[in-house]
């Protein structure tokens, strides 16, 4: 028997989303094409009642939403499809560093949180960049450098080799306390940096669960 898409399995969720969007983002509308739910239209950036800017977007919901996170596309062709504007050639927006997902979209967050935080951050950032040439929240470096930059303040080191060792442990399916701590102390992990490594491991697993597997390699997690 073929699996059913989420909007048929969880019709109540779909209906409540439609209602929420109608109330909060009425210029966006849902459509279902080939068993896939899309939310499209003008994503307005509003300062009070004033529309400061708008982007034409389309959000594609995964087959098993809400287990996984939707993907966001700019469909007006306004943002150049280049790395420096954080866009894939397909028009998909690179909203966030996957490693950071648990910070910006923690467990239990709603779809409206997704629109209000990472999606709005991205498009406000694009508009701000057009005016000033700067990103209001900064930007992650491209590729593996982002992993170094993300972990450096958390792990208290900028040593790429050390961070790389941590990452090898964090990205394992599970971690064991009897392993040597990646900090280089030669102590067992359970007697050294277990707490932080465990937390980062959980965050990494969260990203794995939430982001469509095919996207992980594209986004630098694997």
């Amino acid at each position: 028997m073929s699996r059913k898409p989420w909007y048929l399995v969880n019709q109540e969720l779909f209906q409540s989303l439609e209602k929420e969007i109608q109330q909060t983002y009425p210029q966006l509308s849902f459509s279902v094409r080939n068993n896939t739910v899309f939310l499209s239209g003008n994503f307005l950036l509003k300062d009070g009642d004033k529309v400061v800017d708008s982007f034409l977007i389309e959000i594609e919901f995964p087959f098993n939403y809400p287990k996984r996170i939707p993907r966001v596309f700019e469909i007006g062709g306004r943002i150049p499809r280049i790395v420096d504007r954080h866009m894939y050639s397909t028009g998909e927006a690179c909203l966030y560093l996957p490693l950071q997902l648990s910070d910006i979209f923690p467990e239990g967050s709603s779809f409206l949180d997704f629109l209000n935080d990472p999606v709005r951050s991205f498009f406000v950032g694009q508009s701000y960049f057009e005016v000033t040439g700067e990103w209001p929240f900064g930007e992650w470096p491209h590729g593996p450098e982002a992993i170094i930059e993300y972990y450096a303040p958390i792990l208290g080191t900028t040593d790429k080799n050390v961070i790389s060792r941590y990452f090898q442990v964090i990205s394992k399916k599970e971690i064991k306390g009897h392993w040597l701590c990646p900090c280089g102390s030669e102590k067992l992990l359970r007697y050294c940096h277990y707490e932080i490594v465990n937390k980062l491991h959980d965050d990494f697993q969260y990203a794995i669960r939430k982001i469509t597997p095919s996207r992980l390699s594209e986004r630098g997690v694997k």
């Binding site: 009425p26 400061v52 062709g77 927006a93 406000v124 005016v131 929240f137």
Partner: protein
Amino acid sequence: MTKDTDYLYDVLNSQNLDPDGPEMKALQKHREKVEAILRKRFGSAPTIKYGGSKAKGTMIKESYDLDIIEYFPHDDVSGGETLEDIYNNTCDALSVEYLVERKGSALRLKDKTPDTYSQDFHIDVVPGRYIDGNKGDVFLYRSTGEKKRLKTNIDVHISHVKDSGVIDANRLMKLWRVRNNIPIKNFALDLLTIDLLKNKKNLLLTSQLEYVWTEFRDHSESLSIEDPANPFGNDLSEMLNDSIRRCLKDMTTSTLSTLERDGWEAIFGKVEKTSDKDKKASLERIVATIARPSKPYHE
């Protein structure tokens, strides 16, 4: 962005219908009223939803129509036995509250109160019937022309426009059509624009428009359109007859000359431009409201 592209986005911004503004509120109110009328008459059988530019994301303030589609299941007769019955019964139901003008396949709603009689509400109701249980393709009644029914698919139309990646160009072409009173249907203009720009998505918006206009001027005789929902079944040639081709050629010749001589503002007019300083300040206020900001990334 270049200054000209920047200007075109200001034009587009000036054409956004504020969702909290009076126009959208009025449309929303009518949408609810129309649905209530149709539900009262036909029950829960028909699928009632937005079609047209609202669903496609191509609405502009200067000429905004709302299409409401009303499609009955293929095996349901609550709307009538035949397509013509569905069309007529829907017209009758709406006539209680509206002055209804019969168009090709749609019913145009106008005011029937004495003081504002015949005032256009910019709303078309399009009745039809799904051809099978998949709820994709539909048959619409045609009140004019030789063929009495038309096979189409609103979802395919919506996808065709939305997935084109050139909606901003579509909206500006629509504004250009309205401003110059060009007798081409929006649907035909959308199809032409999308087809001509299918490999030009990486052009700036200014270049996209110039390209489309140049094609209209230089190759008006060879332009063609086909219905993406029924490419071999629906003959759209009348939407692009000789008179319309001539008009497109004349108007684009004039537009391109104006553009070369006087620039973009001579085509789309002055728009109130937000200064960069004001825009930056507004964006910073928005930035401050984001609970969990995130930085963009790329592998």
